[in-house]
């Protein structure tokens, strides 16, 4: 769960990391009022859940309230990597002497947290890391390990923070680390940490990403007005619908509707279709043990997608039982009806039961199943994949 800059800064404040005095605004008039209040030169910063905001023109400087209103009008029309600008953060323009980078993230391969710092903060930190790795300081710590002031002073010194400011820099680093641990973060970044011309250290930006799976234990976030959210950018209407239904779903630009079981084959099935010359229309993940209702909804997403010309179904019943799967498919066929060919395979947990249910339902109403080619364990998935590609090519040819 990614936080907006202004939310990240709320947390910074809580952890005594200095941030500029700022105002949030969602209309040009609010911007005008905020700048009237703050006075002087300001930065007007788009609040969007993506990086590269600066390069995309999402940050504007302005002298006084009138100019700020004018630039805000432009910003509110902007979309940055698909994210519309709905709010801006207004801050006094900082008089920058030096920019540093401080971040904490996970090193999953080594099972540690890692504090990263550099004397060259700002937008090009990744480039610095690639070209001048010696300018990047890293410190690994276990998640159950405290960071101490002396650790932080060592880091601050290495990135060139002046001696008389080491004692101010240390708590910023320690507190950023503490904030990472306290809020189950995946990433916290101050980029840049600005040294102003009057020798103040101040966090000019805040990038914070929390572990969705741990948000349940941070109910105080909600009290701070920070709501649980998904990190998607702009979604298609179908992705929006899937999200509402709780189904991980992504539109792609092919014509084969992917109806897989499990995320693993969801990803690999995509490769298979490519290998046999086809193109998937989507990614989808059924999740563990999907209910018949969910199965039916997954099919609705595909059947109602005009780009989908063939549906490719694969179910290997593990925690997801094939009888539930079959029940869902039958529910869909009965309630909704299938408008395009579907080739599918069912095996694993309770697959015979699933096949039996299909057979019975088909006997009862053969019409419902006229577009369905259902296979069991006897047909390899490669054959099913090939068949889907074949059907897709026929569908294209038929047009």
């Amino acid at each position: 769960m990614r936080l907006y800059e202004f939310e990240g800064k709320q947390l910074f404040k809580k952890f005594k990391i200095p941030v500029p005095d700022s105002r949030l605004a969602s209309t040009p008039d609010e911007v005008f009022a905020a700048v009237t209040d703050l006075g002087g030169s300001v930065a007007v910063k788009s609040q969007v859940l993506t990086g590269g905001r600066g390069k995309a023109g999402g940050i504007k400087l302005a002298d006084g309230a009138n100019e700020a209103r004018t630039v805000a009008e432009e910003l509110f029309k902007l979309k940055i990597k698909g994210f519309p600008v709905e709010r801006v953060l207004i801050e006094p323009k900082l008089d920058i002497k030096q920019e540093y980078y401080i971040g904490v993230t996970l090193d999953r391969a080594n099972y540690t947290l890692v504090v990263i710092a550099s004397g060259e903060g700002g937008v090009d930190i990744e480039e610095t890391a690639a070209k001048h790795p010696e300018k990047i300081i890293k410190k690994q710590l276990r998640v159950d390990q405290d960071m101490f002031s002396f650790d932080a002073i060592e880091i601050a010194k290495k990135i060139g923070i002046p001696g008389d400011l080491l004692k101010n820099a240390a708590p910023i680093i320690v507190n950023l680390y503490n904030m990472f641990r306290k809020y189950d973060a995946k990433l916290v970044e101050i980029n840049p940490l600005v040294l102003t011309s009057d020798n103040q250290l101040i966090a000019a930006d805040a990038r914070v990403s929390l572990d969705d799976d741990a948000v349940f234990r941070h109910s105080d976030l909600k009290e701070m007005g920070i709501e649980m959210r998904h990190e998607e950018g702009e979604m298609t209407p179908r992705e929006q619908q899937a999200t509402e239904w709780g189904i991980p779903y992504l539109d792609l630009d092919g014509n084969i509707g992917m109806f897989p079981g499990g995320a693993g084959f969801g990803i690999m099935g995509n490769d298979f279709i490519h290998y046999y010359g086809g193109k998937p229309a989507n990614f989808m993940d059924s999740g563990g043990g999907p209910s018949p209702e969910r199965i039916a909804k997954m099919l609705v997403l595909l059947d109602e997608n005009p780009k989908v010309e063939v549906i490719f179904g694969a179910r290997f019943g593990g925690i997801s039982r094939c009888d539930d799967f079959a029940k869902g498919v039958i529910m869909f066929l009965k309630d909704h009806g299938l408008s395009k060919p579907m080739v599918m395979r069912m095996t694993g947990n309770m697959w015979q039961e699933g096949v039996r249910m299909f057979t019975e339902a088909k006997e009862e109403n053969p019409e419902l199943f006229k577009l369905v080619e259902a296979h069991g364990i006897e047909t390899p998935i490669e054959e099913i994949s090939k068949r889907a590609v074949e059907l897709a090519q026929q569908a294209k040819g038929g047009k």
Binding site: G51, Y101, G103, V104, T105, L106, D107, R108, A109, Y111, L113, V114, I116, I125, E126, A129, K138, R142, V143, D144, R181, D184, K186, L187, E189, N191, R207, S209, D211, D212, D213, A214, F216, R217, E231, P260, G261, G262, A263, G264, F265, I267, M268, N270, D271, H274, Y275, G288, F316, G317, G318, I319, T347, G348, N349, W351, I377, P380, I381, E382
Partner: protein, 288 residues
């Protein structure tokens, strides 16, 4: 032989009184898995599938001699349950649930390393040593005792691989589900080395996927292994995954791209496969 779990393993189920716990305990027992008991705090003295339920892992071990555990509990209770099992002396632990907080898994890992416990999961379908024991939620239909080991991040891929191995007559020694969560109890290299030590495992199929960070660690051990490793990586045609900001890019570097993973594995001596059908073909070529 097999790795990590055999017919002699004494298995307990943490969360045995829950819906999923009960359902899968029954399935596991049906398969022949030596389930000796279960743990649900506050439900000691109950019985599930004829097995005694205990309040703590220590009690379960004292009474049943359990040495392996499978956790079927909501994600938020996993950290405590895992650490309880590890500290009580469980030597192999399977964490079935998904969405376990990352910071929790880091702590579970520390405890596991400290106590010499092997952990797989979270978000794993489990592990199966065909004909001996089935721990987790895998369907038994795809599996048959044989001579190839598998390790995969995904349950469904495990089933497909096993199905392929079974149908082509190789069969499996053990199939390990590493798990799909972002931070896992074990890494590929660790499981590969366990297979390397198993004389009956003649080859290993490892399947990773885009976005994972443990596939690369396999490259550290494959060059020195005698047992051939076949590798598949899912997501070759997927758009690149999201990065965790600059810091993530700096720490994890180019890790995570499926194509690069597969190339890197091939460079380190693994035999790259594209579809499941490539597996028996490669095994045949290798003379397994």
């Amino acid at each position: 032989m097999a790795i990590l779990v055999t017919k002699d393993s004494k298995v307990m189920v943490q969360g045995i009184t829950g819906g999923a716990g009960k359902f899968h305990t029954e399935r596991m027992i049906e398969y022949g898995t030596n389930i000796v008991g279960g743990v649900t705090p506050g439900k000691g003295n109950q019985t599930v599938c004829d097995r005694s339920v205990f309040d703590t892992v220590v009690e379960c071990i004292e009474n049943t001699g359990a040495d392996v555990s499978a956790i079927f509990l909501p994600a938020r209770f996993v950290k405590e349950a895992a650490i309880e099992a590890i500290r009580a002396g469980i030597k192999f632990l399977v964490i079935i649930p998904e969405h376990i907080p990352i910071h929790d898994m880091l702590q579970v890992r520390y405890e596991a390393v400290e106590h010499g416990t092997t952990v797989i999961g979270g978000n794993t379908a489990g592990i199966i040593s065909p004909g001996q024991a089935n721990l987790g939620i895998m369907p038994d239909i795809a599996f048959k005792a044989g001579r190839v080991g598998t390790v995969s991040r995904s349950g469904s891929i495990t089933y497909y691989i096993a199905d392929t191995l079974t149908r082509s007559g190789y069969g499996e020694t053990t199939c390990v589900g590493l798990g799909g969560d972002p931070v896992l109890g074990s890494t590929f290299d660790e499981i590969l080395l366990k297979f390397e030590d198993d004389p009956e495992t003649k080859a290993i199929v490892m399947t990773g996927e885009i976005g994972g960070i443990y596939e690369e660690k396999a490259c550290e051990v494959i060059p020195d292994m005698k047992t051939p490793v076949l590798a598949m990586i899912g997501g070759i045609f997927a758009p690149p995954g999201k990065r965790m900001g600059h810091a993530g890019a700096i720490v994890e570097g180019i890790m995570g791209t499926a194509k690069e993973k597969l190339e890197m594995l091939a460079d380190h001596g693994a035999h790259a496969c594209k579809t499941f059908n490539d597996i028996p073909a490669t095994l045949k070529k290798l003379g397994v």
